[in-house]
């Protein structure tokens, strides 16, 4: 099952759990499942996060396909100078 890694801000929705195993074939599906289990968290991840998958940060990861052994790191969106 994919593992969702949450930043500490997100953990208030999960009772402090930092890593959650969630079913889902895309990052969007993972977010939807997290929202179902922890109402509010999914919206937060959609609005305030990018996702790091296999060492690559994706800015709009909703449709990104993932395999069952994927680690998905939700990280703050980046800008640059």
């Amino acid at each position: 099952m994919p593992r969702a890694h949450l930043m500490s801000d997100h953990r208030r929705f999960t009772d402090g759990e930092a890593v959650i195993e969630v079913e889902g074939a895309t990052v969007g599906a993972v977010i939807a499942e997290l929202e179902r289990r922890y109402p509010g968290l999914g919206d937060m991840l959609t609005n305030a996060s990018s996702a790091g998958v296999n060492g690559v940060i994706h800015a709009e990861p909703e449709y990104l396909a993932i395999s069952p052994d994927t680690d998905v790191y939700f990280v703050a969106p980046l800008t640059g100078g």
């Binding site: 930043m7 801000d9 060492g55 800015a59 990280v75 969106p77 800008t79 640059g80």
Partner: protein, 740 residues
């Protein structure tokens, strides 16, 4: 000097041809935004608030409208009010205050007139009634219990809102057991730091020329890091369809992040609409300093635990950023830029708070320099206390591929260790420290970003090529695009013309920021070239009468067994008969931007009677992945370094009690001059980024991150005084020496 891992033997990548746009720039022909003039053009001037925070009770423009030469006047009443959910609302309210002015310099009204003098005179005739509101200027004031609200529209981002707040963002990162680690530590060093507001300091003030036609379409020529963003923001602020706005990129005279947002274009659009004439707006230097994006001032509290043999076991800290009058991501990113060391235990909080000062903007590796100043200073102090070589301490703790970043995700292939080793082995570091001087080390890194880019490659009839992209060329990116295309196509780089096209002539491309142009736009160029080569092989197969899969592409020629090779020019010459023009457009959303690390080494002397610092020698090593055009990689490293030296030593915004900047000129906002500096030695480290076809990482951001701590660390070794407040100007250093 270059330190390179094994890599293919490139013919063009890594060479140093003259940049194609350079000729126009050395003879004065290059057209920057302020150099453009249209027939019948008007000049605009902007009325700016003299108050740091005030309600605008009334604006009376009748006298101004009657002034000689005046053709149009606009205020916020001429713009739609965007609702709170619109992501460009802050941009809209920054470029024309609606009801409340939030800082000294906030635009309130604008006038277009026949001459600059007439526009300025009319602006002075606009009458405004203000009701003064409390001014919040510092981070401490902003965060204080019961502090007055800076901006009644602000709510804290990404948390459930309980109404307006001065808090912009809060971001916390945590792993391991920090308390236990500090308990067990042999050595703990804790320090507090502060840094001042600094400006990007590009030499070209913001400028644009706008012509709105009777068809209702706006033609905009602008100086920006991304003309597609100028288009989207302008359309959003005006409530227009994007298709009504065309933006042509003028040459841009420096940006460093400060030209990733807009200040003028929608104002010029409305003035042009109202007057029926083209309108030009050019900011003065004073306006640039008072009303465009400085980088946040900051405070930090950092505590690091270490063992006696130099293992860094824990970090705990708070980073606070003052971000100006509207919300900003600075604090969010700041906490994440702490990722250079393994730190098994980590607890960091970063907050951003509003102040009645200009809306801050990105500045090279936004928010990382402030964090690195604090952390690299504390780490150096640990090295001093343990009597360890500062590079050895860092090598012992440096992250490598697979180690977690601050937010947990493992680092991809990175070159931090290689940079540390490059400095350790450098002539500079191996040379004795000059008499009367001291040597400091500091490091830094930046993630870099990918984002969307498009490129069109046209092969011309004679085998020359045109490479069209949408990334404004700030520092030689045209040359890099041409080099990558030459490498792919196998033709001479001088047969390639790189072009930066307007928003109607090339596919969407995100702003040039986060060191992404050579990385992401370069990747689009490479993809387009590779598709073209497939097509060239197919055409060659037709010409040669062989199967398509019997053709290979080698060194700019199609080769097939038993046939004479066909040059690219030989194929393009027969394009018409083999299927028509050879042109390919590639677009992508690039992932896999590779973090770039840097390690700096500085020799300096401190005049202990005046507090003046003289930089005697400086060497920067940075991981470029692959340097496409090494001269411009070195240039990015040197430029970022010198901006960092300015940030370290003398640059700062000085505000009076009302929030008016007292030093809004290049006389007193002191950017480094040539005589302040030695040569800046560079070591390009090349640890290729596996996610890019040539291994590019992007080099623009990182150079500015290490200098502040590098210099503070050298000062500490020169004087035994630990400087914790930027800038480390002579009066501050002398005061610290006296307190020693």
């Amino acid at each position: 000097m270059t330190v390179t891992e094994d890599r293919p033997n490139y013919k063009w990548v890594g060479t140093r041809p003259i940049r194609p746009d350079g000729y126009d720039k050395v003879v004065g022909k290059a057209r920057f935004a302020a150099d453009l003039n249209l027939p019948g053009q008007l000049h605009a001037a902007i009325l700016r608030s003299p108050h740091g925070h005030a309600r605008v009770l009334s604006i009376d423009t009748t006298a101004a409208e009657a002034m000689p030469g005046v053709k149009a006047v606009v205020t916020s009443a001429d713009f739609p009010e965007l609702d709170a959910s619109n992501p460009e609302r802050d941009v809209a309210e920054n470029l024309m205050a609606r009801g409340v002015v939030l800082y000294v310099g906030h635009a309130l009204a604008a006038v277009a007139a026949s001459t600059k003098a007439e526009a300025a005179a009319a602006v002075a005739a606009i009458e405004v009634e203000y009701e003064l509101l409390p001014v919040v200027l510092s981070l401490d004031e902003s965060m204080a219990e019961g502090a007055p609200l800076v901006n009644e529209h602000n709510v804290t981002m990404f948390v459930e809102s309980d109404g307006p707040s001065n808090l912009a963002t809060v971001n916390a990162l945590e792993r391991g057991d920090v308390d236990a680690a500090f308990e067990a530590a042999d050595l703990v060093v804790e320090r507090e730091f502060e840094t001042a507001w600094v400006h990007q300091g590009y030499i070209e003030p913001h400028a644009c020329v706008v012509d709105v036609g009777l068809d209702g379409k706006a033609d905009i020529w602008a100086s920006s890091q991304g003309h597609f963003r100028v288009r989207s923001q302008t359309a959003a602020v005006l409530g227009w369809d994007t298709a009504r706005v065309k933006v042509t990129p003028a040459e841009i005279g420096g940006g460093f992040g400060g030209k990733t947002t807009i200040y003028l274009e929608p104002v010029a659009v409305r003035l042009s609409e109202k007057s029926g004439r083209p309108v030009k707006i050019v900011m003065s230097r004073e306006e640039v300093l008072r009303a465009t994006g400085p980088a946040p001032a900051s405070k930090a509290r950092v505590r690091i635990a270490a063992t006696n043999d130099g293992e860094l076991t824990a970090i705990e800290g708070w980073l606070g950023y003052a971000v100006g009058c509207t919300n900003d991501m600075a604090g969010f990113i700041g906490a994440m830029s702490v990722a250079s060391y393994k730190f098994p235990n980590l607890k960091l909080e970063a907050t951003a708070s509003l102040t009645n000062t200009p809306k801050s903007a990105a500045y090279r590796a936004p928010s990382a320099p402030q964090a690195a100043f604090a952390i690299e200073s504390v780490i150096d102090e640990i090295a001093q206390q343990l009597d360890m070589d500062p590079i050895e301490l860092r090598l012992k703790n440096a992250v490598v591929e697979g180690d977690p970043t601050a937010m947990g995700m493992p680092h991809p292939r990175i070159g931090f260790v290689e940079c540390l080793e490059a400095i350790r082995e450098s002539d500079h570091y191996r040379s004795p420290v000059p008499e009367g001087a001291a040597r400091g080390i500091g490091t830094g890194f930046w993630f870099n970003i990918g984002e969307q880019s498009s490129a069109t490659v046209n092969l011309n009839e004679d085998g020359t090529a045109t490479v069209i992209t949408g990334s404004p060329d700030i520092g030689g990116s045209r040359a890099s695009m041409a080099l990558m295309a030459a490498e792919e196509l196998g033709i001479d780089v001088h047969r390639i013309t790189p072009v930066v096209a307007d928003t109607e002539s090339v596919g969407f491309t995100d702003v040039t920021e986060g060191s992404r142009a050579t990385f992401a736009t370069g990747m689009a160029v490479v993809n387009a070239c590779r598709e073209l080569i497939d097509e060239l092989k197919a055409r060659a197969a037709t010409i040669l009468g062989v199967d398509a899969d019997a053709v290979d592409w080698l060194d700019g020629e199609a080769v097939a067994d038993g046939k004479d090779p066909l040059s690219l020019a030989a194929i393009t010459a027969k394009a018409k008969g083999t299927g028509g023009p050879l042109t390919v457009t590639a677009s992508l959303n690039a992932g896999g931007a590779g973090p770039s690390f840097a390690v700096h080494c500085c020799d300096l002397a401190v005049d202990e009677e005046t507090g003046q610092v003289t930089i005697l020698g400086y060497t920067a090593a940075q991981d470029a992945g692959t340097a496409i055009h090494p001269s411009y990689v070195e240039g990015q490293m040197q430029g970022g370094t010198v901006q960092g030296i300015g940030w370290a030593l003398n640059e700062e915004y000085i505000y009076d009690d009302e929030g008016s900047m007292e030093n809004a000129s290049f006389l007193d906002y002191r950017v480094p001059v040539a005589s302040d500096l030695p040569m800046i030695g560079t070591i390009i480290v090349e640890v290729p980024n596996p996610a890019h076809p040539y291994g590019v990482r992007g080099v623009g951001e990182t150079g500015i991150v290490p200098p502040m701590a590098t210099i503070a660390n050298a000062i500490s070794r020169a004087t035994s005084v630990r400087m914790t407040s930027l800038p480390m100007s002579p009066p501050k250093i002398l005061a610290a020496l006296d307190d020693r």
